[in-house]
Symmetry: C2
Subunit: 386 residues, 2 copies
């Protein structure tokens, strides 16, 4: 924790655990005999239990979204920009719930957990998980917390997909859905990038068919490459140009030395660091969940029909330079919502930061997000705070 906690921080947070002992059968037909979800909460649940907001993490995220886990932490949670007193997800009026998804590697039951039926680490035998399965597990968490309805569900990227799926699957238990930098389904190019990442991991000899933990190894090279692909594609050409240009870190061709550009050194650093704290099977599982997401499929490939089932209000936001989940993909959602007769506000935020903008302190984005959350508070009758 920094010497002084900023006044707009949620401060020190301790994760909690919820245990679900009933067998949980997922969409693929496989069954988990039991599972746990780890989560954090920020703010206070009001007496009416009406101010709860569920937030979702994206591909490589986890439950620690805001504040500090220990006194030694130098960096706060991954969405601290948006969560805290006076921030868009204002803890003076909302009770925020942030979980690590089922299949994750930060404390929830996942491929690194022991399968109680075999006494062995699940590894590659962990069931295939879909966005729909996640949403169903989140419904159990909601019941566990004695909450009947979310004032809002909020997520960026893969998180936006979960928010959309909740709105479809549990329409009566939701006031608002905030979809940031999302898409109604992945494009072939999106799937291709995910497949490159998976190939990098699963063809690494240290992957051992997914049984690397038992083999005492870790597919570090594969994870590095997977992260590098993600890192390049979640940012824009512009943001990389601004950050690195063609600056040289070391070497000189004319002296017969290999040149290392700054951007290469940065990528290596990011890849190495990721490979030390993320689970390879979880990465494969999460990218598969992204690929399979396609809520219109069960409605005859009609997105309008899928969204007609929803009952909440929507905010849909995209970023101008995001080319993995471009504004045109958000527009598909907005158009379908309009055709389905739903209430939706939408914006495209002008920023050079590509897909990753949803995590960054982009002023206009925070303003729009705050304004919408003000509306959520008003409509849900939450007048405390601000």
């Amino acid at each position: 924790m920094p010497a002084q906690i900023p006044s707009d921080s949620v401060g020190l947070v301790t994760p909690e655990r919820a245990r679900f002992e009933a067998p949980f059968t997922v969409q693929s037909g496989q069954t988990l005999p039991e599972f746990e979800l780890v989560y954090e909460t920020y703010g206070e649940l009001n007496a009416a239990r009406s101010n709860a907001v569920l937030i979702y993490h994206a591909l490589s995220g986890h439950h620690h979204a805001a504040g500090y886990s220990t006194m030694e932490d130098q960096k706060p949670g991954w969405w601290d920009t948006c969560i805290g007193p006076g921030k868009p997800l204002d803890t003076n009026r909302f009770f925020i719930v942030s979980l690590n998804n089922l299949g994750g590697c930060h404390g929830s039951t996942g491929p690194r957990s022991i399968n109680p039926e075999t006494g062995r680490v699940y590894g590659p035998d962990f069931p295939t998980i879909t966005v729909r399965d996640w949403v169903r597990s989140q419904k159990l968490l909601m019941e566990n917390l004695n909450i009947d309805r979310w004032a809002a569900v909020v997520g960026g990227s893969l998180g936006a997909m979960q928010a959309m799926q909740w709105a479809i699957d549990y329409p009566e238990q939701l006031g608002h859905a905030v979809l940031i930098a999302g898409a109604p389904k992945l494009s072939a190019q999106n799937i291709a990038f995910n497949e490159i990442a998976r190939q990098a991991i699963t063809t690494d000899p240290d992957y051992h068919g997914g049984r690397y933990l038992e083999a005492g190894s870790n597919p570090v090279r594969g994870l590095m490459l997977a992260r590098m692909v993600g890192h390049v594609t979640y940012q824009s050409d512009h943001s990389w140009a601004d950050k690195f240009g063609r600056e040289i870190k070391s070497g000189d061709i004319e002296r017969g030395q290999e040149v290392e550009f700054q951007v290469e050194s940065y990528l290596h650093y990011q890849g190495r660091s990721f490979s030390q704290h993320f689970d390879a099977n979880t990465y494969v599982l999460m990218t598969r969940a992204l690929d399979y997401f396609d809520p219109a499929r069960e409605f005859g490939d009609d997105l309008v029909a899928a969204l007609r089932t929803t009952a909440c209000d929507f905010m849909v936001t995209a970023f101008s330079t995001d080319w993995r989940f471009s504004p045109s993909r958000s527009k598909e959602i907005v158009d379908a919502l309009i055709h389905a007769g739903k209430s939706v506000v939408s914006t495209v935020i002008d920023t050079p930061f590509g897909h990753d903008a949803f995590l960054l302190p982009v002023e206009r984005y925070l303003d729009v997000f705050s304004a919408y959350m003000d509306r959520v508070a008003r409509q849900e009758g939450l007048n405390n705070g601000r």
Copy 2:
């Protein structure tokens, strides 16, 4: 060769070799004691030796650009769309020269060749090669062919970079430069994608520090991944959507099976096939040449100053959906040429095919290319043919 040779094909072609026995010192200061270049020619050199056109290959290309190498070939050379009687590079009036670059793996001296000084395969000890070195080696090939001046130099992608470098380094020995889908230098994002490909190759345990031939191995996994990255990024989101959408090749989530999308299966096929015929060290060398290309650098980072040294006319063409070498990168070249007071015509071709469009039969592109080559023929006084 197909049962019947199409009338617009150059027919059966046999590669030739040129041997250079004088030591060749490259930009990095390293010296090749000798080297060979393999090349093909299409059409006839006229009596005045004034109708020669040099074409360049891109990252993973080679000298076999048109016609058929054997009677058994089912597919013609990689640029057969553009080379032949009545095509943009019309063999009724031009004498086309197409070489495999120095450092390549299709017959020219490269990392798979024996270093005569050690008796060992060069492998990773092959000198670092720059675009400038290539152009200098092509000058030697020109002299070997007794040609004083190219009517035109023509290339797409990395080929456009070579054409630009020739125009700067040998201004008096060139009439026209045709730059297709090029850039004045790579962006940080471009370098990042190349670095992912290199990392995939060099971290493959079968790479053996580049000495895989001596180890009796081949970094197949790394080459596959490198090719997959190239393949995805050289096409557009649109072209992939049209080609594959979200079509499923096999599997069914609801039956607990992993789904394989068509796009994944296609990527695997492309990657595998590439890994069987391309040399890993050559791939590393060629991507490095791309990264290092920056002709403005020696002119105080002033592209206008670099291009002021040229004496030819230019055609600069880009493709609307090319995001690796986008139209804005071609525009940088065009703007600099205009500021340098040079003659330039430029177009952006509307096509869904991304960077790879330069290899494809896009009608408008072939029309524009043909029209410009007509002008080359007129200005160079080549009136035979059409």
